[in-house]
Symmetry: C2
Subunit: 332 residues, 2 copies
């Protein structure tokens, strides 16, 4: 009896997944991978899942679905001032998934593995009678004892965010309520900006090292700015006050908001921003901003932490409190 | 505006999941966890998923489903001579999942977290329109440079397995084909043995350290003895020869096999054994067995590796080759 051909699963793994494998993954010929943290570093781990139909539209381009799944996790790690080392992939596939879809899914993932220097370390692929489900567990390295958590803010810290807030939430409205979005009268470039901010997060990996040096507390904004800040404040046992006028908006968001002022609710409470939210000593602010700018990234001060009830976030506009109905997305 | 109550997801996490959290998980108040490998160790990572309806019956007790999901991964790590440090949990829940089911799910998981000293490091919980899906990424520690992989076997190694083979495959037949199993005339204890071997893997964590010292190549048997050995041989670029008569069977399996000889196919090719399959230098065998026995674990020599076509496994019975139709389960 000669050697049997590899099983269908082995073939599948070999052909599509093996090109993504990194050092320590034994070309995925093993079912475990080894990781040796760089000297003077500790490991940071996080996990995030996408269920198609819940967190992504079934018609989304497959290469963007896989990249979003990876980037959601890269964003978590970057907001902790850490750099990615690799990831584990769980993929539950419906019988109806076609090979062309999977090819594009893995092509997209491979491009991001390379551009973020974040190889695949292992995975489990299975059939499901349900929707396509992707879970990625990401492993990163942070300087030993230097990782900012959500628990480390102190009263009087400046609160900052990178980039712009609300674009992804508006991009989602644009898809779900095209007639509403038509009233915004956006340019083609503005529409594409919002669409792409929803479809493809931009993890702030390039400034992770700057966050590590300056942040007291930090996290990424994934479930809405105000809701996520509430979580940070709850974990750090303090309150915060932010100014709506200071929240950084893209040109597209400003245009839409001018027509449709109710969008402020979505901008502050919507999710999928994938920006860094951090608190830092007021004395560090100017240097933090300058170092971010040197990497091409804007950072904006939106408020400050204050001693007070754990988790309270006061959102101010023109000196008065601005009431949000929903502060955070929740998938439960 | 006073502090908002935590979201439904935060409440859920707090009440059911937080008691499982380990050091470095910040009581799950953060969305990342930190891990510092013990001195002189490297990290080992693996991931395995359960889709209810594919890898578990919908009527399975919830505490056994969660424990099986964890133990599948603990088995991978133990077979690599590593000890668990903690895990990341992805849980996709159908709307219909009731609180009582979830309570039992987490009670079971907590019991295993404690008995295997393997705490929760983080997770992501989401809704799904599909079946309940669990993915666990496990992180363990192996002595630096001492982890046996699938790639390290050499020609002339002894091939050994722990415990007994085939019980879980027969336990599955017992559930799916009760009329066939009735003909086996098993005692109640034997029936329960097979049922429990299918429902609840017994990871060989207790002998992991012995495996680390003696094994050349090692893996756990999860997709069938012969198919998994083929994978090991393919990875190590050699062949193997095993003797059916030497494959260790439980009393229940022997009773069933005496009535229903066709079961040998299921015993050798069925999955869910969660025993350690390893190769070692013939000179190490006696010491390996003795050390395992001192921990209450039997190990049995079933054959040897030979130079030859990569991935070829010859299964011998009474000096003749025994042909298997299917060597491994595959979920794809």
């Amino acid at each position: 009896m000669s050697a049997r051909p590899p099983s269908a699963e082995d073939e599948f793994v070999a052909r599509l997944i093996r090109p993504l494998a990194g050092e320590g993954a034994f070309d995925l010929k093993d079912d475990v991978a080894r990781i040796i943290p760089p000297r003077g570093h500790e490991l940071v781990v996080t996990v995030d899942a996408i269920v198609v139909g819940v967190h992504a539209f079934p018609e989304d381009p497959p290469d963007l679905v896989s990249r979003k799944a990876l980037r959601m996790n890269l964003s978590d790690i970057a907001a902790k001032g850490a750099k990615p080392l690799g990831f584990l992939l769980t993929l539950a596939l419906p019988e109806t998934t076609d090979q062309a879809w999977l090819l594009r899914f893995f092509e997209g993932l491979k491009a991001d593995c390379e551009s973020f220097a974040c190889p695949l370390l292992g995975g489990d692929t299975t059939r499901t009678p349900g929707p396509l489900t992707i879970s990625i567990a990401l492993i990163g390295a942070a300087r030993l004892g230097r990782m900012p958590t959500r628990l480390d803010a102190r009263p009087g810290d400046f609160i900052g965010v990178t980039g712009t807030i609300g674009d992804a939430a508006l991009g989602l409205i644009q898809r779900r309520e095209p007639e509403r979005a038509a009233r915004w009268k956006l340019s083609t470039a503005e529409r594409e900006h919002l669409a792409s901010r929803y479809l493809l997060p931009q993890p702030r990996t390039a400034i992770a090292e700057i966050v590590a040096r300056h942040a007291r507390a930090a996290m990424d904004v994934s479930d809405g700015l105000v809701g996520d800040l509430e979580r940070l404040c709850r974990a750090s046992d303090l309150s915060a006050r932010i100014d709506v006028e200071q929240v950084p908006l893209s040109a597209a968001a400003k245009t839409a908001l001018a027509v449709d002022p109710a969008l402020m609710e979505n901008i502050l409470g919507g999710g999928d921003d994938y920006e860094v939210l951090l608190t830092l000593d007021s004395n560090s602010w100017a240097r933090f901003v300058a170092e971010c700018q040197a990497k091409g990234m804007e950072a904006t001060r939106i408020g400050e932490t204050v001693a007070g009830e754990a988790g309270e976030v006061r959102v101010m506009r023109d000196g008065r409190e601005f009431a949000l109905r929903h502060s955070a997305f929740s998938h439960l």
